[in-house]
Amino acid sequence: MEKVKCECGHVNPFGTYLCESCGKPLIEEDTPVANMRYEGVARRSQTYNRTIVDKIWNFFSSVKVGIWIIVLLLIASAIGTIFPQEMYIPPGERPTLFYEQEYGTLGKLYYQLGFHNLYSSWWYMLLIAALGISLVICSLDRVVPLYRALKTQKVTRHKAFLERQRLFGISEDTIDADKEIKIAEKMLKEKKYTIRKEKGNILAEKGRFSRWGPYVNHIGLIIFLIGAMLRFFPEMYLDEHIWVREGEEVVIKGTNGEYFLRNDQFIVELYDTDDERFRQAFERTGQQVVKTYQTSATLLRRTNTGAVGVGTELEEVKQYDIRVNDPLTFDSFALYQVDYKLNELAEFTFTLDAVNDTTTEDLSDVVFTVNLYDPEYVYEFDNGYRIEIMEYFPNFYIDNNNQPDTRNMIPDNPRIIFEVFTPDMDPDSDSGELSLIGVQVNEPLIGENDYRIRMIDVDMKHVTALTVRKDRTIPIISIGGVIFMIGLIQGSYWHHRRIWIQNRDGKIWIAGHANKNWHALKRDIDFVASKAAIPIPKDQLDEEQNSEGEEGGNNSDSTKQ
């Protein structure tokens, strides 16, 4: 690729529309107004196309491609909201069946095409990645040449450059061009323009930094995306669940066994239904309204080092009342209130009754409490009675082989098989009466029993569920957001205005360019013209429109970039 040398002496890269230095059009175009986008510099991407790397680069450098990626992302994201994502379908439902049952054929298709897990699917993530690449390459490809062009621009621009600016005018005859230009300079300074002078010609410029707005904005976006990406790196992001019963100590996931949490108390506080202030609200909802979910928790820390497991020593670090949106924080972790379970069975208290009143023995001392989280094997009493737990099923069910079993270790439906030994029996050789006891269940297992175990008390505990959250990407994402906004403001509330005034053979040539808000530029020129005898430039696009109707305006680049 050849470099192009302009008649002013400046060497321009291949593909340059307007000489970077003097602005002379190097590639002829049919339009009366020069395309000032990116200052007419050569966008590298579109000029070199040799290696594979160049081809990939050029693909992502295209704004068209970038916009297509955004459109595809928008469509995909929208489709993802038609039916619920997998994580939001009711717990326990199988996605394979759920979508078809609930939404019919469309639902089935939705599932089969993988839209039920859209936002973490490989192709959606690849689209986001492509957007990131496009942002980086598009910006690099434009900001570097633009920066160079604006930095090397000469005060005295080529005649043809001036002629082909949208705002352009030549004075008909002037008394003293140099004097008028001096006045104009003063006026422009008053309007806070930066003035550069060369051989009596001036370039007045204002708000150049607004040209960097879009790129600053893109940098913000890229930082934002990097932040989002870092979530997938180890140690950056954690989102776990722990369930803690009242009184129980549980290791906090993700802390490598270093931190524990004890649930001292969990409460659900309701709004007072008798309070006159809430009467209307209650009439409307017709039900109780929760005021607070609160876990009074104690954070504990392991004090010994070495092997995990037996011998773990804990010390209390702090106590905190965790409420919704009011987490307990330590190190880089935060524990949020997220769910709860009220009244989980914790303890049963039993006594023993004789079925027939024939016995005269006093059984009132036979009272025992079974801890459902960790029951004792044997309960012995002073009067010689002995009760053993033969089997314990915390969450009882009958399995496929018709055998009693437990689903898990949570006492949601506890059943206990007790064996009762009277004082005259030998627990090693004799076998006692068997009873199966549970909630609203109390039956002898073999034949009739002489003794009946009766439940006299139940103790229940609340369980709290907390989310363990660690997110080190938040500062990065926030910084990205702030930079994004700065770029947006920079590019939206300021605009780049330039006015060239030249003395060519005693006539004043004036040309103006703004990247948007031409009206303000025209007013600035009017202001200068109120004192200085400079020509009022004509808007060449207006002229064109007048002569060609609506067709002519499509070269406007006033809002692009």
Partner: protein
């Protein structure tokens, strides 16, 4: 100049591709467990039903079949029956079975041991500390730890008898 352009473009593209590739890899192939193949097995101390304490480090020089289980887990039972039938034989060859229960009620573990005639020690994991350290989510989960304390395999889910035996064979030290 052209050379320079190629280098700059290639390196920018390369950096982006590596970052994105790593992210996708982490996200989509997150099969790797907290503790997995070639990791040093985290040391732990557990107590069996009789109060005997064992520390993993003491088992250096032996192959360790570390199995996380629960009484309500059907696949665990099948596995444990295979282990029971072959325990003595492999023990003589320098293999220790460390069977860690996931913090169930002691009574249930004891009854389970009685019912299935488990002949090797069953360890309790109070607070699920060992489970947490090994990142165990589903049961049964098994870690094959060699005589140097390095995890040689992580197995999740049920295994047939021959698979369990093959795993035990792998653990025999100094083959």
């Amino acid at each position: 100049m052209k050379q320079k352009r190629l280098i700059i473009r290639s390196s920018i593209l390369l950096i982006m591709v590596i970052a994105i590739g790593y992210t996708l890899y982490n996200h989509l192939y997150n099969e790797r467990g907290l503790v997995d193949r070639n990791d040093v097995a985290p040391n732990f101390k557990v107590e069996d039903l009789d109060g005997n304490i064992i520390e993993l480090e003491e088992l250096r020089g032996k192959g360790v079949y570390l199995n996380f289980w629960a009484t309500y887990c059907v696949y665990c039972r099948q596995k444990m029956e295979v282990l029971r039938d072959n325990y003595e034989e492999y023990r003589e060859q320098g293999i220790e079975i460390v069977s860690v229960n996931v913090n169930e009620q002691r009574l249930r573990i004891e009854r389970h041991a009685d019912r299935f005639n488990i002949n090797y020690p069953l360890y309790l994991d109070q607070h699920n500390l060992v489970r947490d350290a090994y990142g165990v989510v589903s049961l049964p989960s098994t870690f094959l730890i060699d005589e140097n304390g390095i995890v040689i395999e992580r197995q999740i889910g049920g295994r047939t008898e021959s698979q369990v035996l093959a795993s035990l064979e792998k653990l025999i030290p100094n083959q």
